[in-house]
Amino acid sequence: MIVFQKPKTLTDAPFHYCPGCTHGIIHRLVAEALEELDIEGEAIGVAPVGCAVFAYNYFTCDMVEAAHGRAPAVATGIKRARPDKVVFTYQGDGDLASIGMAETVHAATRNENISVIFVNNAIYGMTGGQMAPTSLPGQVTQTSPYGRDVKTAGYPIKVCEMLSALDAPAYIERVAVNSVKNVKNAKRAILKAFENQMQNKGFSLIEVISACPTNWGMTPGEALNWIEEKMIPYYPLGVYKDQTKEEKP
């Protein structure tokens, strides 16, 4: 059992997430980071279009809701307007890796000093379970009813691997929230993404492998196992890029 004390950086609004959805856990990890770093008053968050669209109701900091996929551009605007604030985005895989891929890559290559929390649940949750750019080969979804056929639908996009090929971004890491150990590790990574920004290190992206039991057609327990057995092997956890120790020109 994972027991959380509700951080003060979360409002009293009850989460609208499905039972067993790990969006809730990731929200708490972000909120804990805001609390532990004492940046609630400085933080400005950007909510996506996706299941986390109402994230703006949950965090006690200032929040804006971006058009589908555009959060990194919106965050760029906010950070350029208010460089002393701590700006983060919270995005799903359809949002970040499909419709918003250009904004993601370019924010990364500008080493935009923002923190991106990227929730990879291998599916479009909000619209009812369609294939995502991160759906696994063979994965059955509403729009890949015979399983993702890589010959016609292509292969999943590995965001961390891809972004770490760029020269610029400060920090890229993939974590998961399917076990106590992984949650602890995810918390450290998210904290680091915010610290990097506070130290002007630049673009940090934390990909969090997350469960969508509803649209995977699984119980919450099965979903956590599926992460372990199917997703993590395809999306290996770890730090993909860390330039936070180097002095960049």
């Binding site: 008053g41 400005i44 200032d62 929040m63 804006v64 605007g77 604030k85």
Partner: protein
């Protein structure tokens, strides 16, 4: 004393924006507006501002959305195809009641079209362009001086009414060089308590969003927004009359079309035809009242446009079809010449029974 300087229309927009307190510009290259970006790229770093060449027009408008939600003046500029890409973002700005200045230096379309001047984005600008019920304040300059003045006004209007404002220029206005007087004005200071500035743990969090899943609430927001639009119509409608005191034929034209029309009207007067012009400066709100009033003396209207006929619909609506309205147009990057407009005026005059004394 400030002195007039010779400037391109696009540069005048850029410098005027800076004078209006804009320190954030986001754009993507496209002819015929690229001088705005080039000017900003040169100037912004020198005055502590931000110039950022975005990865696309979509990104640029969303960067604008970010800066505006953070409470600062900001702008983007583009030409027709780029404005199509910005349209989703413009709808979001409208839906969040965010001020911003968007410049469209129009070129011929549809599709990739051409790079010569056009006014064929009239519908897109005045009817929304993006999805949902919303309006932009649409300003149509017809000189380099107005490119500058309307840009400064545009920022004030956007802040006052919390809505995106568009400068709808055409390629001619952008490329043309004229002397212009650029003077700093006292920036209209407008409180933005809704802006994202960080709570500082001193207030409840601000939320900027256009989402509302309860239809009753969304309806209420739409009605409230339209109440604000009504105020804009009441207070901010602008137009200029030219030789209208005794005009029996009224040309309606904006931007470069109004400049050419002016010459045609003078020529018509020399022939004894009582022609005049109403030049809308705000395309939304459209000077409906002025046109409606004109129907009392004017016997026919001619809409002169660089399009297949878009503003003509507003002229017909405003005059409630009490008088005939005809179209005099070129399209695809062509500009009507004074002879064509004069012929249209003569033709109309003949239909009305020739010169009236």
């Amino acid at each position: 004393m400030a002195e007039k300087v010779l400037m391109k229309g696009n540069e005048a927009i850029a410098e005027a924006a800076i004078l209006a307190g804009c320190r954030h510009y986001f754009g993507y290259p496209i002819t015929p507006q690229t001088e705005v970006a080039a000017y900003m790229a040169k100037r912004m770093p020198k005055i502590g501002g931000v110039f950022l060449q975005a990865e696309s027009e979509i990104a640029a408008i969303n960067m604008v959305y970010g800066v505006s939600s953070a409470g600062l003046r900001c702008m983007t500029s583009s030409s027709s195809p780029g404005i199509s890409l910005k349209s989703e973002g413009i709808s979001y700005l409208a839906g969040c009641d965010l001020p911003a200045l968007i410049v469209n230096v129009q070129r011929g379309g549809p599709g990739l079209g051409g790079i010569q001047p056009s006014q064929a984005d009239y519908f897109q600008a005045t009817r929304g362009g993006g999805h949902g019920d919303y309006h932009l304040i649409v300003l149509a300059p017809s000189s380099v001086q107005e490119m500058a003045d309307l840009t400064m006004d545009g920022f004030d209007l956007a802040d006052t009414y919390r809505m995106p404002t568009m400068i709808l220029a055409d390629g001619t206005m952008g490329q043309m060089m004229e002397p212009v007087l650029l003077t700093e004005r006292t920036k209209k200071e407008i409180e933005k308590p809704w802006a994202l500035t960080g709570t500082g743990k001193k207030r409840k969090h601000n939320i900027v969003t256009s989402l509302s899943l309860v239809p009753e609430e969304l309806e209420k927001q739409n009605f409230a927004r339209y109440e604000r639009y009504r105020l804009v119509e009441e207070n901010e409608t602008r137009y200029e009359e030219f030789m209208m005191e005794d005009a029996e034929i009224c040309v309606v034209a904006f931007g470069v079309a109004s400049r050419v029309s002016r010459n045609a009207i003078i020529a018509a007067r020399e022939m004894g035809i009582k022609a005049g012009m109403i030049r809308p400066i705000t395309l939304w709100p459209f000077p409906k009242k002025a046109l409606r009033q004109a129907t009392e003396k004017v016997r026919a209207f001619i809409s002169v446009e660089l399009s297949m006929g878009q503003m003509i619909e507003d002229v017909q609506l405003a005059t409630q079809c009490r008088r005939p309205v005809t179209l005099c147009n070129r399209a695809g990057g062509m500009i009507p010449d004074p002879e064509q407009i004069l012929a249209a005026i003569e033709n109309t005059s003949e239909k009305m029974g020739g010169v009236l004394v």
